[in-house]
């Protein structure tokens, strides 16, 4: 008897598993095949080209772009952290209209990056634009600061600065939300205790908020540095003359029609991001250990 039941139960099991597999497989297959394609293409291209991956560092274009990307990341990341922290602290405590303010603070993320970059390009246009009008003192309410209009896109420092400004403006809600979640996880009793012991608000911030916020801050540093390494749209529109790694990839692919070198740089960017993440994760672990000991 048992022999006749077993096959049918096995069949049932297989049937139910088939259902699971059938349901699970479509999205998985789609994403996984693209993953494989990306990895294989990047590796194949970057080793088949004239410049093998390891020799990238001897290409001047790459070195310059790497250096610029490094600065973009190095300046943008802390700036975005500070701005996000400021925004989060401002709406941490509830007040009348806090919901409205938070909604308004969320607006930048709703604006497409390309549109943001183009608005900034319009505002800082040369020689005649609203910001140059202001700086030249052409409005009665603003003092004159420069005597000649500033050519923003003509200077490496200024155009990359504008790109950082745009990136910071658009992405500030993201950092704000993560830090806000971190702030809300700090228990109010701890603040009460600090107040009872006579801590001023600056002392509360320094000795209570900041240390307890460290995990959220480290998360932001990791996410933002990745985000800044791979930035494309803002420097592409605002600093086309001074390519970052992302802009260099586009240029090599479209203008110079050199997909192999473009893939090499693309792979180099992936490796850089992996290294940065590794370094930041190690720092995070060390800081956690240190915090626990204290």
């Amino acid at each position: 008897m048992s022999g006749s039941i077993k096959p049918s139960s096995l069949l049932l099991k297989l049937k139910s598993n088939l259902f699971t597999i059938g349901f699970f497989i479509p999205a998985f297959l789609y994403l996984f095949s693209f993953f494989v394609i990306i990895v294989v293409f990047l590796l194949k291209f970057s080793f088949s080209g004239n410049v093998p991956l390891l020799h990238l560092l001897s290409v001047d274009e790459f070195k310059a772009a790497l250096w610029r990307s490094f600065w973009f990341m190095g300046v943008g990341t802390p700036l975005q952290l500070v701005v996000g922290l400021l925004l989060a602290l401002l709406i941490q405590q509830s007040f009348k209209g806090v919901g409205m303010v938070r909604s308004l603070f969320m607006i930048p993320i709703a604006i497409p990056a390309l549109v943001t970059a183009i608005i900034i390009d319009l505002l800082f246009s040369y020689p005649l634009g609203p910001i140059n009008d202001l700086l030249l003192g052409r409005h009665a309410f603003f003092p004159q600061i420069v005597s000649l209009p500033v050519n923003w896109s003509g200077s490496e420092f200024l155009s990359l600065g504008l790109a950082i400004l745009g990136k910071t403006w658009r992405d500030m809600p993201i950092s704000m939300l993560i830090l806000l979640a971190g702030l809300h996880s700090i228990e109010l009793e701890q603040y009460e205790a600090a107040k009872t012991m006579g801590a001023r608000s600056w002392q509360q911030f320094k000795y209570l908020t900041l240390p307890l916020l460290t995990p959220a801050i480290l998360t932001i540093l990791i996410l933002r540095s990745i985000e800044n390494w791979k930035e494309f749209v803002f420097p592409f529109v605002l600093a086309p003359a001074y390519p970052l790694l992302g802009v260099l990839i586009e240029r090599l692919y479209h203008v110079e029609q050199n997909p192999a070198l473009a893939a090499s740089v693309a792979l180099g960017l992936v490796i850089l991001i992996a290294l940065t993440t590794l370094i930041f994760t190690t720092i995070t672990k060390m800081v956690r250990k240190y915090l626990v000991r204290v």
Binding site: F32, F35, F41, V115, I119, K230
Partner: protein, 273 residues
């Protein structure tokens, strides 16, 4: 301290609103307000506000075509990522799958690549035969599905987890097949949550630039952001560019405000474990 706080909030709100105000101002500017010839500063409000540019855009077939392309690409991405993602999310939420952690990692792994790195292989693949025979709308839609699918799966997984198992068991007792249970009982219940995933996908697609730019680099059929960039490269007229920019932003801003609560519910529904 309190005054300082509100002053700071005011300053930040100014910096958030100012660029958007300027965009709106430019889009309704008359000629004298943008072409000053350096004789007077650009006014902060146009001398003679006009909706002329929107009329011009309305009658331009290339703009309308780009708008429609954006719409269709977004709808394609929504449909395709829900079709692929919802069943996967259901399987993840309900069934024990061996090695699920590794599978989840692979679901997300594609997003570990920077867009600008991933776009080279994707463009090389989709712009060569047989894929290049597909219309550009489908190609860009496929790429946007790739970007949105991991999030769709994660949101939908949370949605299915929030639906009580009892319902399915009752359906099973009453003799419904699993697929029937999924489509007739679970899907209607999950629709609001899946709606959040759909809205997320649509606006990801609507705002996306890099993949759309690479995949439609040579063709005439393209999405609104890429169209905007092309306009920028040949006609630097501030009011025209601003009018297009405004029209791209408006749906996103309206939706962000309208569906904020709904989306938060959808997203928290997706977040609960």
């Amino acid at each position: 301290m309190k005054i300082l706080k509100f002053v700071l909030i005011g300053v930040i709100l100014f910096f958030i609103i100012f660029p958007l105000f300027m965009m709106t101002k430019y889009s309704i500017s008359d000629r004298e307000s943008i072409v000053t010839g350096g004789e007077y500063p650009e006014p902060f409000f146009p001398f003679k506000p006009t909706l002329e540019m929107f009329g011009v855009l309305w009658s331009r077939s290339d703009f309308m075509k780009a708008g429609l392309t954006s719409l269709w690409v977004g709808l394609f991405a929504v449909a395709f990522s829900l079709l692929l993602g919802a069943p996967t999310a259901y399987a993840l939420a309900r069934f024990r799958i061996p090695g699920v952690a590794i599978l989840l990692f692979f679901l997300l792994s594609v997003r570990l690549f920077p867009d600008i790195s991933a776009v080279i292989p994707v463009a090389e693949l989709l712009l060569s035969r047989p894929f290049s025979l597909l219309p550009p709308v489908v190609l860009v839609g496929l790429a946007h599905t790739l970007l949105a699918l991991p999030y769709t799966v994660y949101i939908a997984k949370g949605v299915f987890e929030s639906i009580p198992r009892d319902l399915e068991e009752q359906a099973f007792v009453l003799g419904a097949a699993k697929s029937r249970t999924f489509f007739k009982i679970l899907t209607p219940l999950a629709l609001p949550g899946l709606g959040a995933a759909a809205i997320y996908t649509f606006f990801l697609s609507w705002n996306e630039f890099i993949f759309a730019y690479f995949l439609t680099f040579q063709g005439t059929e393209t999405t609104l952001p890429v169209y905007l960039l092309r306009i920028l490269s040949w006609s630097p007229q501030k009011n025209f560019i601003s009018a297009i920019s405004l029209l791209i932003c408006v749906p996103v801003i309206i939706f962000t405000f309208l569906v904020q609560r709904y989306m938060r519910e959808g997203l928290t529904a997706g977040a609960v474990k």
